[in-house]
Amino acid sequence: MTGLTLHNLFFQREDFVLDLSLTLPKGSKTLLVGASGAGKSTLLSLISGFLTPQMGTILWRETDLTRLPPQNRPLTLLFQDNNLFPHLRVRENVGLGLKPSLNFNKEEKDRLYFILEKVGISSLMDRYPHELSGGERQRAALARSLLRKTPLLLLDEPLGPLGPGLRKEMLVLLAAIAEEFNLTLLLTTHQPDEAAYLADRMVFLEGGKIVEEGDPTSLLTEPSHPFLKAYLGC
C-alpha cells in the first residue's frame, strides 16, 4: 500500500538544487543516506512543511500535503538534538503531544503513562531533560511522537549523539515501536551499516538527487554507483 509519494519534487536555494521522486510504502522503514550537504535534512524539512518546494507534490496516501502547514501534516519530525524543552519535566514534554494546556483527564493520563512505559522511561518522568542520558532524551521525544498518533515518523540523524551501545538499543526500540504502531519510518544517518537491519529499504542521496536505492544489505555489500562506493569506502 502506498504511503508517502514525492512526485518530481524540486527545491532550489542559492547554489543547492534538490530534484527527486520517491515512493515509500505504508509501514516501510527507509534509511536515507548521503554525505553532508547531500540534501537529507532539506528533504525532511520539505516533507514536514518547514520548507516549501518550488515544484512537485508531496502525497500521503491520497492527501496532498504540499501546501499544508507543518501542524496539519500527519507526521512527526525528530531532530538530533533539542527535541525537548529544557525547562519542562519529561512527563510535561511528552504530554505536550496530547494537549498544550497539560491538564489531563484520567484517560489521557493513563495513555501518557502507557506510552512512557512503552519506551521504557516511566521511572524518569519527573526528571528534567538535562538529568537524562542522550538515549533517554530520544526515547522521551519518541514517546511524544507516539502520543500524537501520526503515521509517518521522520528522524533526522536521531542517533548522532549516542554511543554505539545506546545506538543499537535505540534502533531495536525503534524497530519494535514501528512494528507495533504500524509506523512508516524515514531515517537519516551517517552510519548505514548499523542502521541497516532496522530498515527494509535504503536510499542514497548525492547533490540533491537519488543516485541509488534498494535493499540495504545488497546496497551495502555490492554498491554500484561510484558515489555510494566512495561514501562506503569500497
Binding site: 501542524q71 533539542n82 524543552f85 519542562l88 505536550l96 498544550p100
Partner: protein, 456 residues
Amino acid sequence: MTYVSYVMWFTIKQAVLSTFLTIPLGVLIARAIVWNHTWGPARLCLKLLGLPLITPALVGILGFIVLFGDIFNVFSLSGIITAHVVFSSPFVALFMINAWRLIPEEHYKLAAQLQLSSFYIFYYVELPQLRKALFEVSWICFCLFLNSFTTVMVLGGGPQKTTLCVALYQSLFFLYNPEQGFHFAELQLLLTLSLAAATFIFKALPGGYSLKVQTFPNLVSSSQKPFIWLGFGLILFPLFVVIVPSLSALSQALHNPLLWQSFIKSLTLSLLLGPLSAFLTFIFVRHEMFFGKPLASLYLLVPPAFIGALLFYLSLNMPKVSSDVYLTIVQLFIILPFSFRVLQGPYMALKSTYGPTVASLGLSSFQRLRLIEWPLLKKPLATILGLGFALSFGDFQSLAFFAHPEIPGLSSLLYQQMTLHFDESMGTALILLTLCYFLYQLPHWILKTYDRTYTS
C-alpha cells in the same frame, strides 16, 4: 517631604514607571520582527533599531516636543516617561532580538508540529529562554532611566520634576549652591554603590555572550505586523518632524557665526575622541579579565553627570587645566562602555576560535594585530570608531558641565536655541543629526565595511 527626599522619590518613580512601560513595548516589537523576519519592512525595522543610539539625545527630544507638544503637556512626569519609552523601546527590541536568536530553531519546529498557539509558543518556547535577557534588559533600562540626564533636563527640571543627576547639576550651575550639590553627589554615590551591590548580588548585568548564534526560525504572523509599523514610528517620526521643518530654518542657522565656531569645536573634539576611545577600547578588550565587567557596567552605574560634578569640583581647585581636558574625560566615560560592548563579543569569539592557533604560532602582539585581529575585526573596529565620533559629536551631558561660555559646542548651542530661538534650533538640529550619521558611517566607508545597519 524634604526637597532631597522628594528628588530621590521622583528619581526612582520615573525610572520604575519608564521601565515597566518600555519593556513590554520593546518585547512586542522584537517578537513582531522575529516572527516576520523575512518580510521586507521587518528587515528594515531591524536595521534601524540601533539608530536612536547614535541620534543626539537633544535632537530626539526636540522631535519629541514637536511631535507630542500639541497632544499633551510634555514638560511633565508623563512627558519624561513617554520620551523614555519612545527612545528606549527600540534598544530593548534590539537587545531582545539578540536573545531570541539563541532559541533553538528546533523548538519552533516542534511547537509547530504540536500545534501550539501563539500564546503557548510564547509560554513554553520563548519566555523560559528569554527570562534572563528580560531581567537583564529591565535592569539596564532601570539604571539608564535612574541616571537620565538630558531628557529630564529638557522635559523636567525645577524642584518638582528633577532626578538626582539633574538636581546635582542644577545645584552647581543654577542655584550656585555647591554645598547642596556636594550633598546630592554623596547621595548619587550611595545610589551608585547600591546599584553596584544589587548588580553583584543578582548578577543582573549581561556578562557573557554566546557563539551559538542561530538564524531565526521560519515563522509568519501577520497579526503582529502592526508592532513593526509602531517600531518604525518610534524611530523615525521624531526625526522626520525635525528634518522637514528644519530645511527652511537651515539658511538662518547657517548664517549664525556661533554655529560655525561651535561646529568646529565639536568636530575637533569628535575627531580626537573617536580614535582615542577606539584605541582605549581595543586595549581594554584585549585585557578583558581586568577591565571587562567594570567597564561594561560603568555607564549604567556611574552616570556621566556624577563624573562631571566630581571633575567640576576638581576644576574649581585646578583652574589652570583647560575645560577641554575635563570634557574629554567625561566623554570617554560616555563612549567607552558602549564601544566596549560592541567589540567585546567579536573579539572573544575570535579569541576562542583562533586563540590556540595564534598561541601555537608564537605570534608577537603586533603580528597578531596585523595578521589576525585587524583583518577579522575590521567591521566592529569601524563601528566603535564611528560610535566614538558620533557619541562625542552629539553629546550634551559633558557640554552641560564644561562648555565654553563663548564657544559652547553644537549640542550646547542647540540647547540654548531651544529655549530662546526655537525656529533656528531646528536648523542646528539638522546639522547635528546629519553630521552624527555621517561621522558614524565615515569609518565604514573608509575601511570599506559598508555597515549600514546601525546595529553593529
